[in-house]
């Protein structure tokens, strides 16, 4: 079994602003670092408050008891939904044998990616879904 090797990583987050509602799309906060065309994404890892209680932006991460109520969609630079509604739980490495989810490398369009809530129980306004994006820069070792 192979596991991912981290070349570069960036924490990203989608905040449940306004109201917490089932089906509503919560976009990720834009990260200029990831908006370059020479960056390819090849892995993801999600966190609950058990792994990362508060993000470096000082936002509270969603509780471990609620991560089975979230799905994530990743969109590429051609606006294709490359990973559509993947359960958040499956991206939490510590709950999946320590393996990090790998995907066929693609250029990410972070502003079009979003998180959806499938049930609002235990999820509070202004909490965030926090992920680590693993990427490499084309041409770099």
């Amino acid at each position: 079994m192979n596991n991912l090797i981290i070349k570069r990583s960036q924490l990203i987050e989608a905040q449940f602003t306004g109201s917490v509602a089932t089906g509503k799309k919560y976009p990720f906060t834009q990260v200029p670092n990831l908006s370059r065309n020479n960056i390819i994404i090849y892995g993801f890892e999600a966190f609950s408050a058990t792994q990362l209680a508060v993000t470096p932006s000082n936002n509270t991460v969603v509780a471990a008891s609620a991560i089975d109520q979230l799905v994530i969609t990743f969109v590429d630079d051609k606006n294709v939904e490359r990973v559509y509604q993947i359960p958040y739980y499956t991206l939490v490495s510590s709950l999946n044998g320590g393996f990090i989810k790998m995907v066929k490398p693609f250029i990410l369009n972070l502003t079009r990616c979003y998180v959806q809530i499938t049930s609002t129980t235990g999820i509070n306004v202004d909490e965030v879904a926090s992920l680590n994006i693993y990427y490499s820069i084309i041409g770099e070792d």
Binding site: I6, Y42, Q51, L52, V54, S94, D141
Partner: protein
């Protein structure tokens, strides 16, 4: 019987994006200690001391592991190590010589015991160890001055 490898997996293996979790972790390892300064608060970067052997110029870092109290109760200097209750509040930042962030790694993802024994594999080549730091993100961290211990696996770079 020959092993069949999918083209995508082959791409990952050929480009150092993945390897078998039982693979060699690195040629060498170093236990690195980070002691927060006395008055360090939360959301304040705590930089490592310079370790030139771990700089990108001299080594490729192939894995980083955070050693918790269960694994090593006291540092080699005899100090009690940091309580793992604080780990969900910490993030390790790997930076290069220009202070650009190469990677942001939550401390809990560096713990083997919480990741089914798996080491977090890395392939860092441009880091400057003295520019790397840990930042705690919330109030439970209250200037303990108790060290964090990292086991860093690396491959030295050959010099002409």
């Amino acid at each position: 019987m020959p092993r069949i490898i999918s083209p995508i997996l082959n791409y990952f293996l050929a480009n150092d994006m993945a390897k078998d979790y039982t693979d060699v972790q690195g040629e060498m390892s170093a236990l690195v200690r980070l002691t927060p300064p006395t008055l360090a608060g939360y959301q304040e970067p705590m930089y490592f001391d310079s370790q030139t052997m771990l700089d990108g110029e001299n080594a490729t870092i192939t894995g980083i592991e955070l050693v918790n109290q269960t694994e090593l109760s006291h540092s080699p200097n005899g100090e009690v190590t940091m309580d793992s209750v604080l780990f969900p509040y910490g993030v390790l930042f790997i930076s290069d010589i220009k202070n650009q962030i190469i990677a942001e790694l939550p401390l809990t993802s560096l713990q083997r015991t919480t990741n089914n024994g798996k080491l977090l594999f890395t392939n860092f080549n441009t880091q400057l160890w003295a520019n790397c730091y840990v930042e705690f993100t919330q109030a439970p961290f209250s200037s303990p001055t108790i060290p964090l211990l990292f086991n860093v696996y690396y491959i030295p770079k050959q010099k002409n």
